[in-house]
Amino acid sequence: MGSREVSWELLQFGVAGLKNGAIYALVALGFTIVYASTNVINFAQGEFYMLGGMFATFVFAHLGLPLGLAAVAAVVATAATAVVFELLAVRPRVGGDPMTIIIVTVGGSVLLRSLARHAFGSDELALPAFSQGGSIMVGGAAIDRQTLWVWGIAALAVAALWVLYTRTRLGRAMRATAVDGEAARLVGIDTRLLVTVSFGLAAVLGAVAGLVVTPLTQTAYDVGAAIGLKGFAAAILGGLGNPVAAVVGGIVLGLLESLSVAFISSTYKDAIALAVLLLVLFLRPSGLLGRTRREKV
């Protein structure tokens, strides 16, 4: 095999890594957004990803809406589910022991998974590709059209989030709350409302990731746990609580996984996230881009 073929093959792995990385980045952003407003990890984040795909396939197959509308409906339905979950289960405990809220989100994750199984069944469900046509060849590497959709939509979501954080009152309030919740309340920010908003926003990002990837991977009621772990690892890798770090963490994790498939074996692909998670927690708990946090008293 010539060296040129080897490099095309590497590029192919790079494409796959960036595709998965974009998805991990969206899920990691969901973790980061909820963490910023509550200081807790929302272990139901993976279920938002699952719901996005499941709602989309259901609306598309059974209600017969066009794909684009089905996607929008799925995002809205997922966000609504997350907001209801936050209002019923999380809000009564905001301000209490963070561990309680974490357990509530673990419970929420189990609940959402069971409900999805009852509502949509336990079969794998599929969604057609967003646009028709064969792969696009870049030299010796093939890029699936759906992968372009993944990149485009992820980039759009990240850009929208950036505008939100830097250019709007809501975004400033969210950042201020992340820095100092008490001071935020004192300047008139309703930090409880922000917790609800952050769940809704995290659900939008999770659902977008879940539905845009479904044409490539299919989906089922139980895909949330695995993607939740990947997204969590990505968020920790970058540095929890920092949106830029979540995106970087997601992309780095996706590439690491791909490289492991290229150089070691695909057997270990899913172990990479766990290994990364443990290594970061041992060696650099604040993440790649995180500053060491001062302990708040």
Binding site: L164, T168, L170, R172, A176, D180, V187, G188
Partner: protein, 256 residues
């Protein structure tokens, strides 16, 4: 007209009565200073007046509304803002962003409209930025607008906190030891700002140790000692009040 009135405020911590049956009135368009020796209960009273802490007895009424049990973000919306002895800035945000965040209750654009970038959003954001710049100029911090709060020196941070509190367009602003740690020039700047604010219609309550500043700017002074109100009146009378002088003996001189 009385903008804030406290009646019979009492706050106990275990066996200690930190604030003991204190009543006071803050009149619209005036500067009221709250003074007293260390441990007199000033900060406790301050927390009660801003509904940050709940009294064991007594009421606080702001503009005809009882503040009992009201969450902080609603108190701010009523037009009552405060600063802290220990500045609580948003460290990882710039001075300008800190002030903009202070304007949270003033910018009305809902998040859905903002997210969708509907017309009107950009204009409101621009107006908010202009207003924030104006407030930074007011406290003399225009040059550091884009510096992170964590990188600002102490005196500057205090003035920034005042600017941030002003961004909520309060009718009543309570400042907890605003001159602590300020140098002479900064204290003078602060005094100018306080007078300018009062003349612009903002009512002020100031807890302060710097007697020079207190005697200089306040219209009315309330003196606390061991949790009780021992005197109130204009600066000239307070300086001559025997009970006040007795309370301060050995503490510090009342020579403004």
């Amino acid at each position: 007209m009385s903008l804030l009135s406290a009646h019979g405020l009492t706050r106990r911590f275990g066996g200690l009565v930190a604030v003991d049956d204190v009543s006071l009135e803050v009149f619209e368009g005036t500067i009221l200073a709250l003074i007293g020796p260390n441990g007199a209960g000033k900060s406790t009273l301050f927390n009660l007046l801003t509904a940050f802490d709940r009294p064991n007895a007594g009421t606080v009424v702001f503009d005809g509304r009882d503040l009992a049990g009201m969450p902080p973000h609603r108190v701010v919306r009523l037009g009552l803002a405060r600063t802290f002895q220990n500045t609580q800035l948003f460290e990882e945000m710039t001075a300008l962003e800190n002030v903009l965040t202070g304007a949270h209750t003033q910018t009305r654009t809902g998040w859905a409209r903002a997210a969708l970038r509907l017309p009107g959003t950009g204009r409101e954001e621009r107006l908010a930025r202009e207003e924030a710049q104006r407030l930074l100029r007011l406290v003399g911090l225009a040059e550091v607008a884009h510096v992170h709060a964590s990188d600002l020196p102490h005196g500057t941070r205090r003035l920034l906190e005042v600017a941030r509190a002003l961004a909520s367009r309060p009718r009543l602003l309570l400042l907890d030891e605003p001159a602590a740690g300020l140098n002479n020039a900064e204290t003078e700047q602060l005094a100018r700002v306080l007078r300018q604010l009062r003349d612009g219609g903002v009512t002020l309550v100031v807890v302060e140790h710097d007697m020079g500043l207190v005697m200089d700017v306040s219209d009315e002074i309330v003196v606390l000692n061991e949790g009780r109100k021992i005197a109130e009146g204009p600066p000239l009378l307070i300086q001559k009040d025997p009970a006040v002088i007795a309370a301060y003996l050995g503490e510090e001189q009342l020579d403004a």
